[in-house]
Structure formats: C-alpha cells, structure tokens
C-alpha cells in the first residue's frame, strides 16, 4: 500500500516539474529575439495580413496565461502546431525521425551494458590489478574525450581510411543496412558513456569487495556464481542505479552530438537544426519530449531501487 502511495507521490512531483518546465518551454517563444508573431512567421513574407493570421491562430492577442493554457492543452494532445521550416505538423516531423534515434540509443545501451558493467565489476573486484589499471586508463581517456572528437576520429579511421563503415546518413530501412550505418555512431556514443558507467560500477564494486558479508559468503563455501550475482552484483548495483538519471542526461547530449557528426536524421540533429533556424514549435516539442523522458527514467530508477533493496521497502512500511 505504502509503495503505491509513494509512487503516486513521485508521479505528482514529476507532473509538477513538467508543468513548471512547460511554462519555461512555452516562454521560449517570448525569449527569442523579435516579436512572437515574427518568430512564428519565420522567413515567410511579413504582410499585415499574414501577421494578423498568425496572431489569431496562436491566440497571441489573449493574455499570456490564456495563451499558455491554449498551448499546454494542445501539447497534452500532442499537438505542437506546425514546423516553421517545413509547414508540416510538428508531431509528424518528429515522429519521422524518432525511430532512428531510438535505434541508435538501443544499440549504444546494449554496447554499454555489455562492455562497461562487466569490466567495472572485474576491475572493482581486483583493484590495482593489471586489468583494473588498463581499464581505468581507458576510461580516463573516454572521460576526457568529447563524443564529437571520438566520432570524428572513428569516422576518419574506420570510415575513410579503412572504409569498413559508411560515413554518412542512416541508410535504408533494411535492418542490416541500418545497423551497418549505425555501428560507428553507436560506438562513438558508447565510448563516452561507458567511461562513466565503468567508473560508477568500479567504485560501487570496490566499496562492497571488503564488506563482511562478502568474506562470509566466500568462507562458507558458496558457489562463485552466487557470491558474484547475489552479493556483489546486487549490492554494487545500488549506487549505479542512483546515478542512472545523470547518465541518461549525458547520454542524450551525446546522442545529439553523434547524430550531428554522422549526419544521422534523428531527433538530435533535428534539435540542432531547429535551433539554428529558430524553429520554435519544433524546439518546444523536443524540449518537452526530452524532459518527460528524463523524468520518466528517473521514476523507473526509483522503482527499480525499491525492487533491488528490500531495506528501503521495509523502511517505508515502518
């Protein structure tokens, strides 16, 4: 019961945060240089008639709060108006590009989980070993190298010099071709994110390595698989779960950059394009989408934390 109460409270907090954020996002229209109707008109010719039409369409003659409510009401129904650049509905424009970003993210997440988590566990279990030192050095490198730098170098080495992978675009809709195109971007994204995940996992593992329960578990002869899985993995996953929120924020930024490097038509390059052309409706929609995504991930993390750590569940019932 308490757990549902707790989740409901978290949901309410997320809702409140979204409302505040949506206010800021809506205000972007007024923060942009120029009058809002001019911003929304973009490069189309500004005659008194077109300006009046825009004012009427976006309710610009009403008070600020009423405008916000109109906009927020539409946003709830996933209607963000039309893109200034293309004139198409914003939802359609974004929907077109979302799949490639989701695929890139899934690809990179899979790589991060396969590479960073096991190596973090191994390195943290034997700190100071040769593997630990090598992996830590690689992660220091990944930490200091921005995603676009890794992207450019990979693009040059594997795309141009060796010619193993395409250097441009997302390929056709054919799955294999798509994967072929996404491999370099996913790798570039992985290097920068994996460095952080590795460090977190390593630190978390190190902190449990000398815990009494670990020593006790191995002295009483439990099979290694249990010692590693039930004791080390479970206990060291807690701090990692806590930092997933920050990692996701980092990941999103990396995706934007990597899409730009490899000219992938995803929502990251769409955001950069929209910012450069001052396409306010698209930016508003993307900003809300990303904020909602980050908040949702944070909520999921909280729930997972509860599932993994029975002490927290007990504390809440008490």
């Amino acid at each position: 019961m308490t757990m549902f109460y707790w989740i409901a409270r978290r949901l309410a907090a997320i809702g409140a945060t979204l409302v505040v954020l949506s206010f800021v996002v809506f205000a972007l229209l007024y923060l942009a240089p120029g009058r809002p109707e001019e911003v929304l008109l973009g490069t189309r010719p500004a005659t008194p008639e077109t300006l009046a039409a825009i004012r009427a369409k976006y309710h610009l003659d009403e008070p600020f709060l009423a405008q916000y409510l109109h906009w927020a009401g539409d946003a709830l129904r996933l209607q963000f108006g039309e893109s200034i650049q293309s004139g198409q509905a914003v939802t359609a424009v974004i929907g077109e590009r979302l799949p490639i970003t989701i695929m890139l993210a899934a690809y990179a997440v899979a790589l991060v989980v396969v590479v960073a988590v096991p190596s973090g566990l191994l390195a943290g279990a034997r700190p100071g070993s040769r593997f630990d030192r090598a992996a830590t050095m690689v992660s220091t490198f990944g930490f200091g190298a921005p995603a676009f730098v890794i992207g450019i170098v990979m693009l040059y080495v594997f795309g141009i010099v060796l010619g193993w992978f395409p250097v441009y675009g997302g390929g056709s809709d054919d799955l294999l071709d798509r994967l072929h195109h996404l491999t370099l971007p996913a790798l570039a994204l992985t290097v920068s994110v994996a460095a952080i995940v590795f460090r977190q996992t390593r630190a978390a593992t190190m902190s449990v390595t000398h815990a009494d329960y670990m020593t006790f578990a191995s002295t009483r002869g439990l099979p290694r698989r249990l010692v590693w899985g039930r004791y080390r993995l479970r206990n060291s996953s807690l701090p990692v779960i806590t930092s997933v929120g920050a990692i996701v924020a980092f990941f999103l930024t990396g995706a934007v950059v990597v899409e730009q490097v490899f000219s992938l038509p995803g929502i990251g390059s769409q955001l950069v394009g929209a910012v450069n052309t001052k396409d306010v409706p698209v930016i508003q929609a993307l900003a809300l989408l990303m904020a909602a995504f980050i908040l949702l991930i944070n909520l999921i993390c909280d729930v997972v934390y509860l599932l993994v750590d029975p002490r927290l569940r007990k504390a809440m019932v008490a």
Binding site: F148, A249, L252, L271, M290
Partner: protein
C-alpha cells in the same frame, strides 16, 4: 591562470610527483599555457596568411600539419586558437569553483534549512542535461560564447557543491572546528580560514573536473555552431570547419581533436595528482 599555480607547487621528494605520466601532464600544461599566453604575439607559424592556391594540403611544404580550406597553416592556427579554446574553461573553473565553494560551505556548515534549500536546488539542476539546456537557450535567446560560459558556471556548480558539502560534513564536527567556535570566531571566518584549507584536496579535484567538463562542453558547443564565432581558431570550431576536408587533409580536424583530448586528460591527471598530494600532506 590556474596553470601557473600547478607548476609552482613545491616539488618535494616524492615518487608520485616524478611519475612520468604526471611529469608529462605538467609539461603539456606548461606548453599549452605558454601558447595561450604568448601565442597571439610570438607564433612561429603565421596563422593568418591565406594561400588560396594550396587549400587543404596535407603536411609538407613548410606547413607541418598542412593547410586549411583557405590555405592557412593549421599548426599556426592551433597555437593561435589555444587562448580561445582555454579562456572559457578557465573562467568556468574559477566562477564555478567560487559558486560551489560558497554553496557547499554554507550547506555543509549551517545545515538545517539553508542546506535543505541549497541541496534541493542542486539536485534539480544536477539531473538537467546541461549542454542540451545551453543549446536550446543560447540558440534561441542568444548570448553567444559568453552566454554559454555563464550558463555552464551555473549548471556545473551543482556537482562541485555536492563534493564540497560532503567534504565539509566530514570536517564539521572535528575538534578544531569546535575549538574555533568556542573561541567565538565569526562563522565566515571559521569557514574561510579553518574549514576551507582542510578541504583543499576536494576543492582542487572539483575545480579541475569543472575545467574538463567546460573544455569538453564549450568545444562541443563550438562544434555544433553555437560557441565560438565562425572563423575563430578555437579548436572545436576548427574541427567543424575542416571536417568536410577530412579526405584532403585529415590533420585539419584530427589535430584539434587530439589537442582537446590531451588538454582534458592532462587536467584530469594533474587534478588527481594534486589532490592526492594535498591529502597526503594533511596526513603527515
């Protein structure tokens, strides 16, 4: 600049200080600092002369790293751009440290409501994807490079505040603090004169982390076309401008990329070395 502080740290006999890696990083820092301070006046390679007849040439012909699309010397432009590439990160490091030291000390020392308010704010900003926020705000509202620098100071302070607050919490109830309190010293004085020197390792570590984050962040913004202005030899900007000519002269894009990584790595290694050195000094 911070780099001067780094070189003048007394090098007492200590194995750690003479580790080749640390020494190499000190060397890199000195060279970069010299380029940043003197580059615009004492550049051995002319970064300005255009040679439109030999654009995007690979290394050779007196151009050690080749030329860019306008036939300008890449190496010369890299040296010229050191200042542009490092001034922003240094400002973020100084400003962000000042902010996070103030907030971290206040939160850790006063506790109670002050701490609750500060930490709530910090947690809120900590989860925000700083660069995306800056992309949207600087892109839409304007403000350019220095607007991005100011936003980075605000958005990077939360991480430092967290580190410094937990360091203060570790010192808060030690006898020396209580002694100072019982002597009736003012709170600002206790924080600045007694607490601050004792959390120096954390302060240095968080300052250099901030520098690295700012270097990476600002060059990323320049790469996306939002940081340094077009035509500036700032490294991220150079990388973008020479990217299209990767096949003609890869060094135009690869060399600034290497410099960004080398600068970030040196700062990270030096930060580790200095803060472990400082905390060892405490223990002695």
């Amino acid at each position: 600049m911070s780099t001067d502080v780094i070189v003048t740290v007394p090098s007492r006999r200590n194995r750690r200080w003479f580790s080749p890696l640390t020494l190499g990083c000190v060397l890199v820092t000195v060279v970069l600092a010299a380029c940043a301070l003197l580059g615009p006046w004492l550049n051995p390679f002319d970064p300005h002369t255009q040679d439109l007849l030999s654009p995007s040439r690979p290394p050779g012909d007196g151009h050690l790293l080749g030329t860019d699309a306008l036939g300008r010397d890449i190496l010369g432009r890299l040296i010229e751009g050191t200042q542009a590439a490092l001034v922003g990160p240094v400002v973020v490091m100084v400003g962000g440290s000042a902010l996070s030291i103030t907030l971290g000390l206040a939160a850790g020392y006063f506790g109670g409501r002050v701490e609750a308010v500060i930490m709530r704010l910090v947690d809120l900003l900590y989860a925000a994807p700083a660069l995306l926020v800056i992309i949207i705000f600087v892109g839409m509202v304007g403000g350019g490079y220095w607007g991005a620098v100011v936003m980075l100071i605000v958005l990077s302070a939360p991480a430092g505040t967290r580190m410094i607050r937990s360091a203060v919490l570790g010192q808060r109830h030690l006898p020396y603090v209580e002694a100072a309190e019982s002597l009736g010293m003012s709170k600002p004085r206790i924080m600045a004169v007694h607490l601050l020197p004792n959390i120096m390792p954390t302060v240095v570590a968080s300052a250099l982390l901030e520098f690295v984050a700012a270097l990476v962040g600002l060059s990323t913004l320049s790469f996306l076309g939002l940081g340094a202005p077009i035509g500036s030899p700032e490294w991220g900007r150079m990388l973008t401008e020479n990217r299209e000519f990767l096949e003609l002269n890869p060094w135009g894009a690869i060399a600034p990329a290497i410099l960004i990584v080398v600068a970030a790595l040196s700062a990270t290694v030096l930060g580790d070395a200095i803060s472990s050195r400082l905390s060892r000094g405490k223990a002695e």
